[in-house]
Symmetry: C2
Subunit: 591 residues, 2 copies
């Protein structure tokens, strides 16, 4: 018989502890401490409480918790001494069916890992979704994590402990994150379409108007129709637009969506999650036979990443009249113009048709977008959702420091004009200065001494600067300080420096009313409200120019890795995003 939240809230302390027995491996103290916070509004709230107990327990007890876990395919498994939960997990992960080679490799890794970190390797190895890993993937993850620094690995092990507890909790309560799983499955299907060369290697790459891109659009169109949208169509730039009418068709609509193109060898969730979360909401409304007072217009943007053509935000830009006519004549690496690519895809390829996509902002309530975080913050804080306060403004520069190349042996330290050390000094300043703001970021991503030799003092050093902040004035102050420091470093070191602006984007602060709707929605789930800036650019930046907007972030696994096949999230987290979105839809009229 599955447990209910009501039962748990009503039970005596001892009984409640017994009900939660086995969630954390051989560590009942965690559930016991969390239960003091009853009653719980949701399982999400209970999970947060237990994670908080572990966080507050201190390093010593955390280590004890980690050490309470069995080795993967270790002695305890072989000797049938696992807890019932671990037995099920390791069996379902196929670890009892290891080949002798796999078994040997895992034993080697277990020994090396334990010697390095002092606790056994903990990995959430069972799914069905979000954590269902093959034996080969388990070994690859094991090898990767063995290279982590101790503090990083300890945090990653603890996150896996929480993920195991989450899955075990679902078992106890007999719940499944069904909307989350529906989205998960839809995104798995969508990821089957990939550009040639990537498709064969199992990598995901969908660039503008390729065959894979058009197949993905067709899939989105089908999924929208199946979900019960009233109108679905592909527009003149390839956006897939689905409309679910409100009770009053004349009322202003909520605009929402994200992009379905990807970077090369990218992740399955970047962009696409922001299409399928609202699609799942419509599917849920339709299932309940409900309509909102306002209509919902979901746009799957055809292009955001600027991979095939240098035309980022093409899809969302078209909605605000920001399509650059020169783009039609731009050629891809194979010499195909964008106009030709459009016509080949059955689109008109005319400016007239594209300009007609421009939306009248007065017809819309605003724009909201759900997106995977693409960063480590939520993952590290054990939080499934984050509310975006602003999409950071940014600038990028390509620079070169020029000093004097000289003999590394014969040039005394005080006679050098070392271009690379000048840039090194700047790199440390950028790090310090950005950290001082708390929410600014500054990066030197390209750093290279051209033609460098071991025994030559660098005469030149090429580097880039990427500086971002939640507001334009904060960004501009950061930029001014960085360049003032660069000038001072150059003057002191006898080095000069060229700089070329390659990108400038204004910040897009969230609209206060829409941000607060997201906050109330998250709060209603019993999940802590965490506000954060978005460091990456998103389609919402474009809509920001013409209407109010606010975004919701969903936690990424694997330390928030993005633009990478390791990008991942869980069906549970997606489920929470769908629930938050539904709450927002139900309270569109509130303020």
């Amino acid at each position: 018989m599955a447990l209910t939240l009501h039962q748990l809230n009503a039970a005596s302390p001892a009984e409640a502890a017994r009900l939660l027995d086995g969630l954390y491996e051989n560590s009942p103290w965690i559930a016991q401490a969390a239960l003091a916070q009853r009653p719980f509004r949701s399982l999400a709230q209970l999970k947060q409480q237990m994670a908080a107990v572990v966080r507050d327990a201190g390093a010593e007890r955390q280590l004890t918790l980690l050490r309470a876990h069995p080795e993967l395919a270790g002695k305890a498994m072989v000797g049938d001494q696992l807890t019932p939960e671990s037995t099920g997990e390791q069996t379902r992960a196929g670890l009892t069916a290891c080949t002798p080679e796999e078994f040997g490799r895992i034993q080697e890794l277990n020994a090396a890992y334990n010697a390095k970190f002092g606790f056994p390797f903990v990995l959430a190895v069972r799914g069905p979704r979000g954590t269902g890993l093959s034996r080969a993937e388990i070994i690859a993850t094991f090898e990767r994590r063995l290279e982590n620094p101790p503090d990083v690995e300890r945090a990653e092990a603890l996150r896996n402990v929480h993920r195991i507890a989450e899955v075990r909790l679902q078992d106890k309560f007999g719940t499944t994150p069904s909307e989350g799983e529906w989205v998960w499955d839809a995104l798995e299907r969508l990821a089957k379409h990939s550009d040639p060369g990537f498709a064969e290697s199992g990598q995901l790459t969908v660039t503008y108007l390729t065959d894979a891109h058009r197949a993905a659009a067709a899939q989105v169109e089908r999924d929208m129709r199946d979900a019960g949208f009233d109108e679905v169509a592909v527009d003149a730039v390839g956006n897939v637009v689905g409309i679910y009418h409100g009770t009053d068709r004349a009322a202003r609509r909520l605009l929402t969506g994200s992009h379905y193109d990807t970077v090369r060898n990218g992740g399955k969730y970047d962009g696409r999650l922001g299409i399928y979360v609202p699609v799942a909401c419509v599917r849920s409304l339709v299932a309940q036979g409900r309509r909102l007072p306002h209509g919902l217009e979901v746009v799957a943007f055809a292009e955001e990443e600027g991979q095939r053509y240098k035309a980022t935000f093409l899809g969302s830009g078209a909605l605000i009249g920001a399509f650059d006519p020169a783009w039609l004549d731009q050629r891809d690496a194979d010499g195909t113009t964008m106009r030709e690519a459009m016509q080949h895809a059955g689109l008109p390829g005319t400016l007239e048709a594209i300009h007609a996509l421009r939306r009248d902002p007065s017809r819309y309530l605003g724009f909201v977008e759900v997106h995977i975080e693409q960063g480590p913050v939520l993952n590290e804080l054990d939080l499934p959702l984050g509310i975006v306060t602003s999409i950071n403004g940014g600038v990028r520069y390509a620079c070169e420091a020029i000093g004097m190349a000289s003999h590394a042996g014969t040039t005394p330290m005080d006679r050098r004009r070392d271009a690379a050390v000048a840039v090194a000094e700047l790199a440390l300043y950028v790090e310090r200065r950005a950290a001082q703001d708390g929410d600014s970021v500054g990066t030197i991503g390209i750093l290279n001494v051209p033609g460098g030799s071991t025994n030559v003092v660098p005469g030149r050093c090429q580097f880039t600067l990427d500086l971002r902040a939640p507001t334009d004035p904060q960004r501009d102050a950061l930029v001014a300080d960085v360049f003032a420091e660069l000038d001072a470093i150059c003057a002191r070191r006898g080095v000069r420096c060229t700089r070329e602006l390659t990108m400038r984007a204004a910040a897009a602060p969230s609209d206060a009313a829409w941000q607060s709707r997201w906050e109330r929605a998250v709060e209603s789930l019993g999940v802590p409200v965490h506000r954060m800036p978005s460091g990456a650019g998103h389609d919402a930046m474009k809509l920001h120019e013409v209407m109010p907007q606010a975004m919701l972030f969903v936690r990424g696994q694997n330390a928030g890795i993005s633009h990478n096949p390791l990008e991942s999230t869980t069906a549970d987290d997606i489920q929470l995003a769908v629930e938050a979105y539904l709450h927002l839809l139900d309270h569109l009229a509130d303020d």
Copy 2:
């Protein structure tokens, strides 16, 4: 009538000042102040005194001195208002015969230079040797110096002022640095031989046993014979060995020399100066009909730079039995083995013949080597010669820092594991730590974020370390501190680092007795004795393993640039090196 040093020393102060009038452009105060130090033992001593007066005069008067100079091909030249000295110099440099384009370009440069630095461009434009520049070279030098930082350029301008005064002084005294000019001319002739591809472009490249290399050897052989050596021969590795016997043929010989191969696109003086200075000495002894009690054995080493084969110090190594037998089978870029190259050059190409080159150290007094400094120290100190205290020991490492690549926008500053910033922190430490020793040097010459992107936090950073010090314990302490700091940085930043030792060379401290012979020789010229370590490796390092050695450095022009066509010295400085060498030969028996 040419002036003599005796006249100058004997003259009244007013008369002496009149005799030196015009040395420094419109600035008689310099010679006047220097004359207080009379009597002078040599013109070199007088020049040092005048340079010291300028150095001690302070920034304000130095600026006045610079501003006392006319512009190059400027209004004063056009209006016939130059001093007689400047008129001669600018005319001989061909500046009065500029094309309209050249004239226009020089006026542009004059304006830009004056605007940037606040004084006119000063360049020693007349020769005949060491400073004879074509108009194209003058313009190229002008353009290069315009890019200098103000303090660097001010020092470079002052050095040119001193060089102009030196040439004017020779005019007054009717002296020519005749041995220096002989060496200068011989090295110009030697530089005509260059490997294919470099020869056509006027660049100097002579790698082991190429046709150009063998032509260079033949030239050295001829020059030795012409100078009057008793025995001259090419040995089994291509070294050219010249012997000038002493009065007692059984007495121990002084071994000396340097290498005649070059790096690709190298300089005319690196190595070769150390062959031709002793050859000039023998030439001078022969002209005087003199023999020393001890014999002199000058070896022009065939290979030091390791360019065609990875076999550095092959020539000097053969003399101490350090020829690696595996080298004979090593292939060059065209697939030719060293044995084949030797046989093609008419050498036996057998280990037996090569092993026979090993010298019996008991037959030698020791080894001395003259070499261009290959660094900026003497040039900046206005000193023509330096006495080497030790050839630095060094180590080289190839390293890679590995952190975690992440999104530059979404990864907060305190969540990063930026491999490049870790290396930046190390670079600043290396700079600080090496400077702390005073005479250690540390360089990160290769620095690269592989596959770096503007918007990605660097996950990897490749770099090299080149660490050198005058003694092995000092070097080892430096290395230990650098790696301790690297470990600390890595631990703090969650980064790990690989390191691979690619080179380790022991320090070769100069023999006290031989170093002191060089010091006495330099002192005898009225030139300050300046002791310094050698940052670069030299053939003397090899001989150091079996016999006492000490080296003499000669100032390089152009801020000491080396391994570059800009490497340069002057006939005056070479003259002083020859005179110092002759002094050393005359005092071989002293202690």
